[in-house]
């Protein structure tokens, strides 16, 4: 395509104000046919708002949006869809009890006669659409039985069936494993080869250069720059944060102390099939592995969320029976769960109530909560972790993802947990908050805590861990010292390949 031709999507001067915050201020954005254009920015930079405006979920205050040169109002999701814009949110819009084919054609069923669905046609078309993406998902499979990556493929197929010209993807790889990401990228390339333009939102800077053609950076609701990819990561980070972040990860100044937790042959179900390791004070033990390798199951068993069927935990050399979360909490083990929205905090409750929740017994006398102490505790940790909140009585639902994660961390830090299990601690969190969480984990380890850090973000595991356990199919496949661990080596072990 000639440089002078009309862009597929042309956004100019778009502004949006929410009560108390200018979410977008005179933002421009351009998407060409067949291009993957990455939208970058910290949480609160305005990516989500721009995405909502383009998908018709919320109306803009000012500005022009042109699709193929034609101005579009985009005043409803339906209108956006008719204009050729499809959006795949981080949380999928699928009906889990219906089949893949039913989901793809939901609301637009192929009909044999009025009211009767022609399943055969749907099945054939679904197979065709999925095939076009290089996927071999059975159209008759129930969505609930599919993996996250497969569900995502169903979403992409649905967008394709709507003849989407513009596909918006929000954090599409956040729950995918390395090989699944590769499959997703292959599917995206097939789409762009057909001329579809993709707006790609992600916090995982490392992968952007593999898929993106250009990147536009937003900061505080304003347009910062558009630059071609690949681009050096430090440059991108600097544009997003407007400050030099010399190093991603804090330097390792920790010293490994005595053993604090020993896990012996712990097993549960088919996902966790006998894991043993030791965790020491002052150490960050990284756990890598593909999705479904049993990492979260391991975290949950140690944290008391699920009961182990076999095996033993020893805390400071003494056997520890963990039958319920309260057992783990009494022993000083804190679990920062993978899915913080579902397992980490109570959104409708205040920051103070959430921070205090695990130790309400301590904070109350004769069953009556000492609100002054509760507030003081929360205030102390809000300051300490620099949680951005109007105050301790603000409900957690009003905070950004990074600050919500800090609230979950504060719960356990306030308890003085000696063993902290963090499962995907930086998922969906912006760069600046990420750095803060890294520094926090480092400081905790320096102060003598033992930290088990589970992460699907390999650079994060490599950058943060003192030792790395690699899990594969419910077992420990390999263990590396950080000095000898390489991206390839860890991946090799995670894939179950002999080293």
């Amino acid at each position: 395509m000639a440089e002078a031709s009309i862009p597929l999507l042309d956004v100019r001067g778009v502004s949006k104000r929410f009560p108390g915050v200018q979410a977008l201020d005179d933002v421009r954005f351009e998407l060409r046919q067949g291009e993957v254009h990455v939208l970058l920015g910290e949480n609160g930079a305005g990516k989500s708002t721009l995405m909502k405006i383009l998908s018709g979920a919320c109306a803009r205050d000012a500005g022009i949006v042109r699709i193929d040169g034609r101005a579009c109002a985009l005043s409803s999701p339906r209108e956006a869809q008719q204009a050729g814009i499809s959006t795949i949110y981080q949380e999928f819009n699928l009906v889990s009890h219906l089949t893949a084919a039913d989901n793809i054609f939901l609301g637009r069923e192929a009909r044999r006669m009025p009211g009767i669905v022609n399943r055969r046609t749907q099945r054939r078309d679904a197979r065709h659409l999925l095939g076009a993406l290089g996927s071999s998902i059975d159209p008759d499979a129930r969505v609930a039985d599919l993996t996250v990556a497969e569900q995502q493929m169903v979403e992409v197929a649905k967008a394709l069936s709507l003849d989407a010209k513009i596909l918006i993807m929000d954090e599409p790889t956040s729950a995918l494993t390395e090989s699944e990401i590769e499959q997703l990228f292959a599917a995206i390339r097939r789409l762009t080869a057909r001329g579809v333009g993709v707006i790609y939102i992600s916090h995982r800077l490392e992968e952007l250069s593999r898929i993106g053609d250009r990147a536009t950076v937003l900061r505080d609701g304003r347009y910062v720059a558009t630059l071609p990819l690949p681009a050096p990561i430090p440059d991108l980070v600097r544009l997003m944060a407007n400050r030099d972040i010399a190093q991603h990860y804090p330097p390792r100044t920790r010293t490994r102390g005595e053993m604090i937790l020993e896990v012996r042959d712990v097993a549960r179900g088919t996902r966790l099939r006998g894991v043993s390791f030791t965790l020491h004070r002052g150490e960050i033990l990284g756990v890598a592995g593909l999705l479904g390798a049993g990492r979260t199951e391991l975290a949950r068993v140690i944290g008391g969320a699920d009961r182990a069927e076999r095996g033993q935990l020893l805390l400071g050399g003494r056997p520890l029976a963990v039958r319920a979360p309260s057992d783990a909490i009494h022993a000083g083990i804190g679990l920062v769960p993978e899915d913080r929205k579902r397992h980490g905090f109570v959104a409708a409750c205040s920051v103070a109530a959430n921070v205090a929740l695990p130790q309400l017994v301590r904070l109350s006398r004769a069953g009556v909560v000492d609100r002054a102490r509760e507030r003081a505790l929360a205030t102390r940790w809000i300051e300490h972790l620099r949680i951005k909140t109007p105050g301790p009585s603000t409900s957690v639902s009003a905070l950004s993802g990074g600050n919500q994660q800090k609230v979950v961390l504060a719960k356990w830090l306030a308890l003085g947990a000696g063993v902290l299990i963090v499962d995907e601690p930086t998922r969906g969190i912006d760069v600046a908050a990420r750095m803060e969480i890294y520094q926090l984990l480092d400081r905790l380890a320096v102060d003598g805590a033992g930290i088990l850090m589970i992460s699907s973000d390999l650079p994060e595991v490599l950058g943060m861990s003192d030792r790395i356990l690699v899990m594969h199919q419910g077992r420990v496949a390999a263990e590396f010292d950080h000095r000898e661990a390489t991206h390839e080596g860890v991946l090799h072990a995670a894939l179950g390949l002999a080293s």
Binding site: F18, P19, C58, G303, A305, A324, P325, S326, A328, I329, H330, L335, P337, R342, H343, G344, F345, V346, A347, A348, C349, S350, A353, L357, P358, L360, V361, S364, G367, V368, V369, R371, S393, T394, S395, S397, A398, K411
Partner: protein, 312 residues
């Protein structure tokens, strides 16, 4: 934000109540009299007390359909004790214990039996009603001492005793919800049960207690009702659960759990009481009254939903 919205919602309910009262005083001279207003309060008392327990349940993310039957059961227990010449205090304690115990059974069926609250309490609705009928042979138990009847007929400064009982229930309930650990857990469980469990809270125990509280509230309502009627009816309390749920929902407590409070529920119960009273004074037929009350419930929830979706 959420707090602001909640207080805005509560204010809206109060404005609705005041507006309703103004409208009724304009329409009929009989509404705005001390005796009529006291009458409204007295008539609201039973629903308000049951709704207080219901508010605990709904905030915790559940529902209790058995409260009407528990009112009948507790009333029957009370009456049988009184008939057997048990001291008043013992009889009332027995009724309260019966209500709390059956409520606890609801809780156990939900926590240990893993039944959905709707099903567990639907079953209890039938079981408790059956027990009340069985204990009395289906006949009302009547004729009590004057002492006992004071529970309903006694007055202090012209204010009927049930109003004081309601006030006490609400003050105590508000204290429990706002100030105690249990109250905090009720909100936390309703907001996110799994996150609460993972925070080391014994969710099963506290959830069971929530249903016991609801049973206890039903029993207190049963004491007032029995004293007022001077009779315990095994068929008393039919459809009370719906009035209690309505008062709670009109008061702004979310059926999704995690949000709401007793301040809203009392206003919700008063709106229903005033509405019934006013429509009676205006001579509106009881059939039409049902339609109006239904519309008010729906209207309240529509307002809630639109307030929530207006959030950015």
């Amino acid at each position: 934000m959420a707090a602001l919205r909640a207080s805005g919602r509560r204010l809206g309910t109060v404005v609705g109540l005041v507006g309703l009262c103004l409208l009724l005083s304009a329409l009929t001279p009989y509404f705005l009299t001390v005796s009529n207003l006291l009458n409204v309060l007295e008539q609201t008392a039973i629903n308000a007390v049951i709704a207080a327990g219901m508010t605990f349940v709904i905030i915790s993310g559940g529902i209790d359909l058995s409260v009407g039957s528990l009112v009948a059961l507790a009333g029957v227990v009370l009456a049988l004790c009184l008939q057997a010449q048990a001291p008043l205090v013992v009889a009332i304690a027995a009724a309260c214990a019966a209500g709390a115990a059956f409520g606890m059974l609801n809780g156990l069926a939900i926590t240990w039996g893993r039944l959905p609250p709707f099903i567990a309490t639907l079953g209890m609705m039938s079981i408790a009603r059956g027990c009340a009928l069985l204990f009395t042979g289906g006949r009302p138990v009547s004729g009590f001492d004057v002492d006992f009847r004071h529970v309903a007929t006694g007055r202090f400064l012209r204010v009927p005793a049930p109003v004081f009982i309601t006030l006490a229930v609400y003050l105590l309930g508000r204290f429990v919800l706002a100030e105690t650990r249990f109250g905090r857990y009720v909100y936390a469980m309703g907001g996110n049960e799994e996150a609460t469990r993972l925070s080391g809270v014994n969710v099963r125990l506290h959830k069971t207690m929530v249903y016991a509280v609801s049973g206890l509230a039903s029993a207190i309502a049963a004491v007032v009702l029995t004293a007022r009627l001077n009779s315990a009816q095994p068929i008393a309390g039919i459809m009370y659960e719906l009035d209690a749920i309505a008062a709670t929902v009109i008061g702004g407590t979310s059926l999704m759990g995690g949000e709401g409070g007793l301040g809203g529920t009392i206003v919700g119960a008063l709106i229903m009481g005033v509405l019934r009273n006013g429509l009676n004074l205006l001579g509106v037929s009881s059939f039409v009254q049902q339609i109006v009350i239904g519309l008010v419930i729906v209207f309240a929830v529509v307002i809630d939903t639109s307030l929530k979706s207006r959030r950015p």
